[in-house]
Symmetry: C2
């Protein structure tokens, strides 16, 4: 391990320079406009895997963006780790709020600023570079490695789902290592043992067949915006409890010991609120902020648009208004069932004066991993070695829908060893990644290979 | 009058051709992008007034778009009529819903399609052309005429307000003739004796200081869209009654006889709903549709935008959401007072978890004119002569804020002799004007000069 560590430490600057090249590719998956960049990004990943010393690297076409698959199976009898990550990134709007261009990676105060820096290009790069360190020093790894890097995580991973379902033999492994989550705080080695699921819906409310003059027609017809606002307000009660009938039916109650564990974590609500610029934190009554974001399901409007939205005052009753609404789910909620309950309830509360269309845009299952799992134990030891501190265990409010597919289909445990921070503006302007964590992440990855091979 | 009528009838095609030239100018006042078109439009009006035979025509600069003032005072001892109209038009979005380009006037089935056709270019043009008919035949008018044509009606007429306040001597008159309203139905001669006022507000709700990942932060903070939806839903109760404290305090109750008059009008709720493409008409309980749009105040969201609004699914809790909300007012509601009550109530119902900004974008007073007014009687006779039918009296739900300023400042009665139709898509795609009504409007204008001069 000594040579591996020395290699990682002495190649740090080159690693950062290569990461910059990766971040320069605007691989936004939500729009077809970046189709070429998706291919470019997949090719880049494949090239870096080859440069790391892996011979078997393939870029696999899908109906959407290509997958990158790679394997190094030179340790017969030893366990196999499947490393998953994604090269696609979130959109960049509102662009005007970025201090530096999102695809012109800029290092400031030990952080690298770019879209995808922490979510997830910076994090998959850590594993490619730890593999490189082994293969360029020892010429081999202490266990077997497979890589699956996709380009559709931000849009629901549909093609990877298909691929996993059809290729469980190819992907067979003992653990799935994923770095797409966050540390509990800067410098705190963390393993995430739970993720929320998601049901992402879109509602379109239509009133009159065209935009109407709000003077002439004001009072004659139901206004779709007012109606939709009323409907949204009926999705949660005053206590932040979601009012969709049956919504909580399958929610597993948190155990006493887990509640205690969460309580023990050093978390300042005051600082957290300050960072977010809000006067008070707010959510479901009787739960703490960590509980609300980790172990409780939630509902949020992600966007709304209708009527006249430019500067000034146009007097219309709009024909149509659209809202995007997503729910974060916890074990054992089923996104398909939740989408159905949501749709049923929305139709039920839609007044006769308008029509409604509900679309299920995408869904993902929640997951919780046992803390006694062999891979989780190895990961917690590995990251503790890298950071020189005791590992903290947390859950995460976000969703990585593919994790559950991997776990179910491959019958292997996922290990969520993320090196990001929730304050690193993933999905927001000025996304960045702490370069110290990037470096510690490469070491953690190397230590994990060592620990899990024992 | 015989020669005047013959002139109007025989010049009809040229009038339409000239109107097309007027409609080709994209004089959208809401944006500064069309600054040049506003000047072009004012110059066009001035040119047409001169061509009609009026010598004293002036284009008057303001802080905003220019005014056109003209006068023909060759009938000493006779009454003076001030004719008001506006050359500015509404924006054209959504452009994709127009069947023909909004600034490429197209005649189809006896209707002319273009932005501004009925609101208000087609309607001011009627009066310019009736004046032309008198001056080109008799060489004189039976009474004195003043024109004030502005370019800021669609954005609140602020500069005209100033001009009227400072120039009451110049504008002195016995009646103010305005054609910017609608007939009760096709072929029905109509005088409008009431207009609603308006208070147009904008609310901006801000939560966290940036867009947040809705997975990681969902449950931690109040979501501005959900909050705003809740606030909007608190502006009206289930019965469509506005819940802003004090909102109805100054509303004058409708008299029995007016209620009877409205009941007598031939109005099919069924056909009206069908035209608008809604399953049911909806508004304040216990009032009929005509009452709700004419004599009752209303509240409508005119636009809303926040968060992710493109196609697909971005998982954000937005930092900010904005809604435009306007209220239509009836006598004796005061838009300034209503704006204050609205602002106070909004601040009161804003939870501590977000911040709110309320902007008063513009306001206008409501008005009702006596049916015994001399000018109103003359107008009702004039339009009946042109149409060969008995005149119907109605109120209108829309607002022409400048009307009250004229009436108060000049101590003269407004006469609302509009030739449009509420189904002519003013403020919507495919705005048009019935060319038969355009022709009858020119005749009505000529007959009004005759009747009012008696």
């Amino acid at each position: 391990m000594k040579n591996v560590i020395t290699y990682i430490n002495s190649n740090n600057n080159r690693y950062i320079s290569e990461l910059k090249d990766f971040l320069r590719i605007p691989s936004i998956s939500i729009t077809l406009k970046h189709k070429k960049d998706m291919i470019k990004s997949a090719d880049f990943v494949a090239k870096k895997l080859k440069e790391a010393g892996i011979q078997k690297v393939k870029v696999i076409k899908t109906k959407g963006n290509p997958l990158v698959y790679a394997e190094w199976l030179g340790a017969p009898g030893k366990p196999t780790v499947l490393i998953y990550g994604h090269y696609d990134v979130q959109p960049v709007d509102p662009l005007e709020l970025w201090d530096t261009p999102p695809f012109d990676p800029t290092v400031k105060n030990g952080k690298i600023y770019a879209r995808g820096a922490t979510d997830d290009k910076g994090q998959i790069f850590m594993h490619i570079k730890s593999v490189e360190a082994f293969l360029k020093t020892a010429g081999k790894l202490p266990l077997n490695i497979k890589f699956v890097i996709e380009g559709e995580e931000e849009i629901g991973s549909r093609n990877l789902q298909n691929f996993v379902n059809k290729n469980s033999k190819l992907l067979k492994c003992d653990a799935i290592l994923i770095s797409d989550t966050a540390l509990f705080g800067p410098g705190i080695p963390t393993i995430t043992y739970g993720l929320r699921g998601i049901a992402y819906m879109e509602i379109e409310v239509t009133g009159p067949n065209r935009d109407l003059h709000s003077g002439t027609f004001g009072g004659a017809v139901a206004n779709p915006i007012n109606i939709l606002a009323g409907m949204i307000s009926k999705l949660m009660n005053k206590d932040g409890h979601i009012t969709i009938p049956g919504f909580y039916d399958d929610v597993i109650k948190i155990t006493k010991s887990e509640k205690e564990n969460i309580k023990k974590l050093k978390f300042s609500e005051k600082n957290y609120a300050k960072t977010l610029g809000v006067k008070e934190l707010k959510g479901e009554k009787t739960y703490s902020t960590l509980e609300r974001t980790w172990i409780r399901p939630t509902l949020d409007c992600n966007g709304i648009i209708g009527g006249f939205t430019d500067k000034g005052a146009k007097t219309v009753i709009p024909s149509k208004v659209t809202a995007k609404i997503s729910m974060r789910l916890v074990p054992n909620q089923d996104p398909i069932k939740i989408a159905k309950l949501f749709t049923k309830y929305i139709k039920q509360i839609t007044p006769k004066s308008v029509t409604v269309k509900v679309n299920d845009l995408h869904g993902g299952y929640p997951i919780v991993v046992s803390l006694n799992d062999k891979a989780t134990i190895a990961a917690s030891k590995a990251i503790a070695r890298a950071f020189g501190k005791k590992t903290v265990f947390m859950r995460e409010g976000g969703s990585i829908p593919i994790v559950i597919t991997f776990a179910k289909k491959l019958k292997a445990s996922p290990v969520l060893m993320g090196l990001g921070l929730n304050t690193e503006n993933l999905h927001s302007p000025n996304e960045h990644f702490n370069l110290n964590h990037f470096h510690l992440g490469i070491l953690s990855s190397a230590f994990f290979f060592d620990e899990f091979s024992k």
